[in-house]
């Protein structure tokens, strides 16, 4: 499944990194500790978090994730958005909480 399909199915907003909307998604990872994400997220996964700091996009790029989803409609920092555009990694947003969103994504990818 591609990032753009997931955007449509989970009603996500695109905040940045449109260049990467065709990225193939292999799974998901939910965590707010960037140190943990650096150690455990796999390439091609969608990363779900409430962190909005610019370092999020640096970690996303380092680990080559398919996209990042910020939960609860939290507003991403401006330099996070610009880095998402620079890296071409989609930065998405959802009104759902991490629990709900992770469940929905799991169902979608499992199905």
């Amino acid at each position: 499944m591609k990032v753009c399909d997931i955007i449509e199915k989970l009603n996500l907003k695109v905040i940045g990194g449109e260049e990467g909307l065709q990225n193939e998604v292999t799974g998901g990872y939910t965590s707010d500790l960037l140190s943990d994400v650096m150690g455990n997220v796999d390439e091609g996964q969608i990363w779900i978090t409430l962190q909005t700091h610019r370092n999020v996009m640096a970690v996303a790029s380092l680990k080559e994730v398919a996209a990042v989803i910020i939960v609860k409609d939290l507003e991403a920092d401006e330099n996070t958005i610009s880095q998402s555009n620079d890296e071409g990694i989609p930065l998405l947003s959802s009104s759902m909480e991490a629990y709900e969103l992770s469940g929905e994504l799991y169902q979608l990818l499992k199905g």
Binding site: D32, L33, L34, S35, Q51, H53, A58, V59, D77, N79
Partner: protein, 247 residues
């Protein structure tokens, strides 16, 4: 230039996790007994105990820097220090405006009172001080700069509440005056692994919550005199002032 012992991270009775014994009198007396020259008062998200400790320090001949250990939105702990009471009060207004309105549960978290030199209670903070502010680390740094204070991310390699745990690495656009590393960290090894930190001054402190812990770790600094300005110069490695050893 003279050498001074500085322990710049300790909690008082005001922090819910700080021992009720950590009164201004006990802190100042213990610090002096242990040969410290400079201490920093850094309660969680509050500066309200600082004035009493600073006043007592002046009477007893101990340099006391007032500040707070602030929890940012990312849950990173950062030490902040300010030069005088006016700036501390201005910073307190910022803390008051940005601390979430979650009430302290005294039974679960502990008391949050500030006291005078006679251990009389001067006030009580009702909001839970260990919550995170609704401010990012960048916004906090900006506020500290605006008040000409010192900005020092605390225990940066701790597995929780640290820059490295919460944000993965030192953000490129942050310009700390110094960084804190706890005593269990091998500083040379970590600077080897993280060359981006090599230009920064490293501080070690006790993070004391109990009187016994005051001065258990400290930094030795070379200054002309024990003052805020001189310490700022040492952290920025200016005019021959510097941190020379971590104990």
């Amino acid at each position: 230039m003279k050498r001074f012992k500085a322990d710049l991270h300790m909690h008082t009775v005001l922090s819910p996790c700080g021992s009720l014994e950590m009164s201004p009198t006990v802190i100042v007396e213990t610090a002096l007994q242990r040969g410290l020259d400079i201490i920093g008062i850094t309660d969680h998200n509050s500066t309200r105990q600082c004035a009493e400790v600073i006043k007592l320090g002046q009477e007893k001949g101990l340099t006391v820097l007032g500040g707070a250990e602030v929890t940012t939105k990312e849950e990173v702990h950062c030490l902040t220090f300010f030069e005088n009471i006016e700036k501390l009060e201005a910073f307190q207004m910022y803390l008051d405006a940005h601390l979430p309105n979650i009430q302290n549960d005294v039974d679960k978290f502990g008391h949050q009172v500030w006291v005078d030199a006679n251990e009389e209670i001067l006030g009580q903070e009702e909001r839970l001080l260990i919550s995170g502010l609704d401010q990012s680390i960048d916004e906090l740094e900006q506020k500290v700069r605006q008040l000409d204070g010192l900005f020092i991310p605390a225990h940066i390699f701790r597995p929780s509440f640290s820059i490295y745990s919460q944000l993965g690495f030192m953000p490129f656009d942050i310009k700390p005056d110094a960084i804190g590393m706890s005593a269990r960290v091998n500083v040379d090894e970590m600077l080897g692994k993280h060359p981006e930190l090599k230009k920064l001054t490293v501080l070690r402190s006790s993070d004391a919550h109990f009187p016994d812990q005051i001065g258990s770790h400290y930094s030795i600094v070379e200054l002309a005199e024990a003052s805020f300005d001189e310490l700022r110069k040492a952290l920025r490695k200016q005019d021959g002032r510097k941190v020379v050893e971590l104990k």
